[in-house]
């Protein structure tokens, strides 16, 4: 990403400085007695925590609801301040205004690490209008600007775009940066196979997305209400499903073009309801039991029947599409998820994506406000999804290939970053020629970023009192013993160096000493200023478990740097079974 991120600024540019952080709360305030839906608020916690940690003075700007440019009592931000303060575990002072003398005075009195929340920015008409005066007033409150509101990035607001004319540096917050990186990874260099699941409604908005994604995708599924027009274009009997007649020619063109590049997969079966019963149910405000449903194939939906979800065969097809996929992009729900039984397919596919956390997968991006609400309403562990976006509209803009105004307004990375001085990392690798220490050497490059590191190999030999005594009598024996020792050490170094060389790792020195292994390892680690000690250690061997060796244990207890313990995998355990013995 070419935009500057807040953590790239040197810390001294943040400590003691006033940082305006724009974050987003959810659109609607909580109804009385209902827990605050804090999905967006939560996404900005790392940024706030980071600013607090570096001793910045964070002035937080939030908008809530649609007060229409005037003060609306029920949209005051006191509940937001309370939530933030509880989630961060520190006080968040909330002001009664966003601009003017009050906030200026309060900001002047801030200490390092303090957090201050301005009143709802949308109480001022200037916020949505991107008014220069309002932006200037906000700019008066800060030295650094940080935008962490991805969900608003498609808009040009005074607090996201206007303000950047008056405040520099202007950097992305951590949540915004994360969102941008996720989309960048999918759009610029998707790891193939790249599977697209484009569903939901609003065909006119999704067509440009489909056009833009087409050359990147390897597999494409079109579902939700979108699919109806595509099925119509293929002359299927889809009952009373709504079709966008005006866009039908465009859809036909798209299909013709798409089918040269990827297989376009449409739903194979649908859950359908009688259209009158469904309208009646909608009119009643969805009270009571939802209408009776039946399963139909895509090409046989009777008239007066309306598809409300895709069926099990389609879910199975999607499961097949996910096979081996390394990038998945999913936009829009597959059915009318708001009515419980008709969210089944959306839920099932969400679970497929979550299961992909293990054993192996790359990246999944789920976007769209409606899909996001659906997924969260299912009460699934959403943390397992990489990545559930907080902003539907900005995501669509990115997927169409368009820039986001609030992102364009930020500084470029190159303008800000100070070079960081580093010395090569020093790694101490004690070796004894055993399988354990070889395993450590073999795995080192995989486990640690050791590319430029300087590795010191250490071979500790045990002094033997007997040999010492004998050497005193017989100088020849001493010499012979020396030769033997040196040979042993050379052998050990040779067999250890081979796997290191294979990984193109750089061995700086090979040392042989006599003494207690743990003591010598600790002493040398100190001497060379090791950043890491790598120890091969005994693994678990079946029922007779040999726990970590005494040398490793002692090193671990006394080392002044991190210690990496590598074992030989005795057997690859799958599942939980073996752990519970």
């Amino acid at each position: 990403m070419d935009k500057a991120v807040i953590n790239q600024l040197p810390v001294e540019k943040l400590r003691g400085r006033r940082v305006f952080v724009r974050i987003d709360a959810d659109a609607e305030p909580p109804a009385p007695g209902v827990l605050f839906d804090e999905f967006k608020l939560r996404s900005s916690l790392p940024t706030l925590e980071y600013l607090r940690g570096v001793g910045a003075r964070a002035v937080i700007g939030v908008s809530l609801g649609k007060p229409g440019g005037k003060v609306v009592e029920s949209l005051r931000l006191d509940p937001v301040a309370e939530r933030l303060s509880r989630m961060l575990g520190c006080p968040v002072r909330k002001l009664g205004e966003a601009i003017g003398r009050g906030p200026q005075g309060a900001v002047a009195g801030m200490q390092n690490g303090d957090l201050l929340l301005l009143e709802n920015l949308r109480f001022h008409p200037g916020e949505d209008a991107n008014d220069a005066d309002f932006a200037h007033e906000l700019a008066e409150l800060c030295d650094v600007f940080c935008n962490d509101a991805f969900a608003l990035a498609n808009l040009a607001l005074a607090s996201t775009v206007g303000i950047t004319r008056y405040v520099r540096p202007a950097a992305a917050g951590l949540a915004l940066a994360r969102e941008l990186m996720m989309f960048e990874a999918a759009l610029d260099q998707p790891d193939p196979p790249f599977v697209g699941l484009i569903a939901g409604a609003r065909l006119e908005e999704k067509l440009p997305v489909l056009e833009n994604l087409l050359p990147r995708l390897n597999r494409l599924f079109i579902g939700g209400a979108l699919a109806f027009t595509f099925l119509e274009a293929k002359r299927r009997d889809i009952g009373s499903a709504p079709v966008d007649k005006a866009l039908l020619p465009l859809v036909k063109d798209f299909l013709k073009k798409a089918e040269k590049e990827v297989e376009v997969i449409l739903p194979e079966d649908f859950i359908t309801v009688q259209v009158d019963e469904f309208r009646e149910y909608e009119k009643s405000g969805r009270i009571g039991d939802p209408p009776e449903w039946r399963l139909e194939l895509e090409n046989g939906i009777p008239p007066f029947y309306l598809p409300v979800d895709v069926g099990p065969a389609t879910v199975n097809r999607i499961k097949g599409l996910f096979e081996g996929a390394r990038t998945i992009l999913w936009n829009g729900p597959l059915g009318v998820w708001e009515i419980e039984p008709f969210g089944a397919a959306t839920r099932a596919v969400a679970m497929l994506i979550m299961e992909r956390v293990s054993p192996r997968h790359q990246r999944s991006i789920l976007c769209g406000d409606s899909l996001s609400s659906a997924i969260r309403s299912f009460n699934l562990p959403v943390e397992l999804i990489r990545h559930l976006t907080t902003g539907g509209e900005p995501a669509l803009r990115l997927l169409e290939g368009n820039p986001l105004p609030a992102v364009s307004a930020l500084d470029n990375e190159l303008d800000l970053i100070a070079p960081i001085e580093t010395r090569p990392r020093r790694i101490l690798l004690p070796v004894d020629g055993s399988e354990h220490s070889l395993e450590a050497a073999r795995k080192l490059g995989r486990l640690i970023d050791a590319e430029d590191a300087e590795i010191s190999l250490l071979h500790v030999q045990k002094p033997t009192a007997f040999a010492v005594g004998k050497a005193w009598i017989d100088p020849d024996a001493k010499q012979r013993r020396e030769i033997l020792r040196r040979r042993e050490a050379e052998l050990v170094f040779d067999i250890t160096s081979a796997p290191l060389a294979q990984q193109r790792l750089n061995v700086r020195q090979q040392l042989v000493v006599e003494g207690d292994p743990a003591d010598e390892i600790l002493r040398l680690a100190d001497e060379i200023g090791a950043d890491l000690i790598v120890m091969g250690s005994h693994g678990r061997t079946g029922v007779l478990r040999v726990l970590m060796g005494s040398v490793s244990r002692k090193v671990l207890d006394q080392a002044k740097c991190p210690v990496l313990i590598v074992r030989i995998p005795v057997r690859r355990t799958v599942g939980v079974g073996t752990l519970e013995t």
Binding site: E49, G53, L174, S358, R386, L564, G575, L579
Partner: protein, 146 residues
């Protein structure tokens, strides 16, 4: 056929909520290969959710409070990773005996490396099926840029 790309190393970082979390996070961030993925795990002590599913449903309010505590722990962890230009790939929460949960989750997600603070979770160091990187106490102060 193209060579299959190397799978990213999955690093599991168990978080207890104590200050020592910072050591593990800094060391993980410092040492990890560039393509590594960081999974945060907060293992809450309490009846094991999987062994005793009936205990799982604490009251809504209790779960909410736990949730806040967990969010705070994750937020701090993410801020530390972020201070080194990294992001976490996933956040997991489970309740039970922390050491057992760490081993269970590491196995299940096929973790390539576990990063722990010294003194924490001896059993994990002894029984983990994958390598374990142990951060010495005080390392956070040495490595932290903030």
């Amino acid at each position: 056929m193209n060579a299959t790309p190397r799978e990213p190393l999955r690093i599991l970082i168990p978080l207890s909520g104590a200050d020592s979390d910072a050591s593990a996070l800094h060391v993980a961030a410092e040492m990890a290969p560039r393509d590594a993925e960081f999974f945060l795990l907060h293992a809450r002590s309490g009846p094991d959710e999987e062994r005793y599913p009936d205990f799982k449903r604490a009251s809504e309010a209790e779960r909410f409070e736990c949730g806040i505590e967990t969010e705070r722990i994750f937020a701090r962890a993410n801020a530390i990773l972020a201070s080194r230009g990294l992001i976490s790939a996933g956040q997991l929460v489970a309740q039970g005996d922390p050491e057992e949960i760490i081993l269970r989750v590491a196995n299940r997600m096929a973790a390539g490396l576990i990063v722990l603070a010294a003194g924490a979770a001896r059993r994990v160091i002894d029984h983990a099926a994958c390598p374990v990187l142990v951060a010495e106490p005080g390392v956070a102060v040495r490595l932290a840029k903030v």
